[in-house]
Symmetry: none
């Protein structure tokens, strides 16, 4: 099963709606299961420095098949895999990247959000995921 | 004046509609005036190898403020600037990248299309541009 | 509105004058709103290792539309976005990068200074900014 | 002997004056003998795609201690060193890069110009060089 454009558009629309609701313009990246871009939107006013962060959150989620912040447990000071975050051309290990896994556990891609406080990014990423999982 | 999300979405929708009409799934990249991603869509079935091509066509158009194929006159065999295409982390010098210039000549960004024959890419890029210029 | 050469030259001249006054040769980088180089000067005696630092300070300021050191609050140990500084091909998150925002809040680019103590870099960056804002 | 800021500024001013005279806005890059940036100016209206070209012309001149177009004899089709232009993170092998050699043959750096027709770039590069050699 592959992530469709229709799904990607629904995910981006739901994320953008949540971002508009909380009044924080966001960068919204959707990658497919192979880590290739499927859809991207930079809302008006979202900082350009967060384009790369959104994309790398999604990349981190898709490559490790977990939420981006899960990686932090491994690479934080004192963790067992320090430096992990510098592999794969830089991972982003704070929250806002969520793998798009179906209820059957098949991973079709990931969403990555950046532009606000981390907690806001998460809210928006969850709204995008909710549109995916239905 | 900055390219808005609303404009970017109209451009992408028009390009995708034309691509659907000619039955060739496309990668559709929209960059802003500074060359930063504003919107991207990979239609279902569009080859992933063309993601980078679409993006680099748009980059070429935005950096030189001309259609991407214009550069080829300079760097083709016998041209005055051979090797030009290897600068700027690789330019794409065939057609499918069009700067988004207003009727007043202000450049707000560029559209880049890749996924089909070059002539098909151009058709789709023109449809996207038409939605911009109105 | 675009940053002009005349503005860039006034900014660089003012920064260089301040650097001469405090007797610390500096690297002075001015980027436009899209993050592209507008002007650069390495004063005699400024270390070459600080060329990249000056440029990345300006890049950080322009991409996030804040002073470069603002980012440190997010990515310092215990901060909410650790690793942020490794995105965007490396950000520089100490002081010396200032966005060139008009009194109306429009950002036309950024100045980045490196070559001395951080506090000296800031002094010189502020002198450059003062020449911009008038 | 090292290229001074004063020399760099005189070179850039002379190049910019010539560019203004022929009414073609240019990117003007001056590197030192080690290939590090000494000064850069993008004139208003100069295309941003030519920033990298100007810089790489100067890099080519400084690394091989000849005019940038001299390399083309080696790497052109049928030449003895094909692919040469892809080394050193891409060289630019058309005209507009001139090493800053003193009358005694000491090389202090290079100037690279891009933004117009190649012949115009050369005119402007020569004007910059003339300000250097006196």
């Amino acid at each position: 099963m592959q992530l469709t454009s229709e799904q990607a558009q629904a995910i981006v629309a739901a994320a953008a709606a949540k971002a508009a609701e909380i009044k924080v313009p966001m960068n919204i990246a959707v990658l497919d299961a192979g880590g290739h871009p499927k859809m991207f939107l930079r809302m008006d006013g979202a900082v350009r420095g967060a384009i790369d962060i959104a994309t790398k959150k999604a990349k981190t989620a898709v490559l490790f098949e977990v939420n981006s912040e899960t990686l932090w447990e491994f690479c934080k000071p004192g963790g067992p895999a320090q430096g992990l975050q510098f592999t794969n051309d830089i991972l982003v290990t704070f929250a806002g990247g969520i793998p798009l896994k179906t209820r059957d556990g098949e991973m079709l891609g990931a969403i990555g959000i950046s532009g606000g406080e981390v907690s806001q990014d998460v809210q928006v990423a969850k709204a995008g995921f909710a549109a995916f999982i239905g």
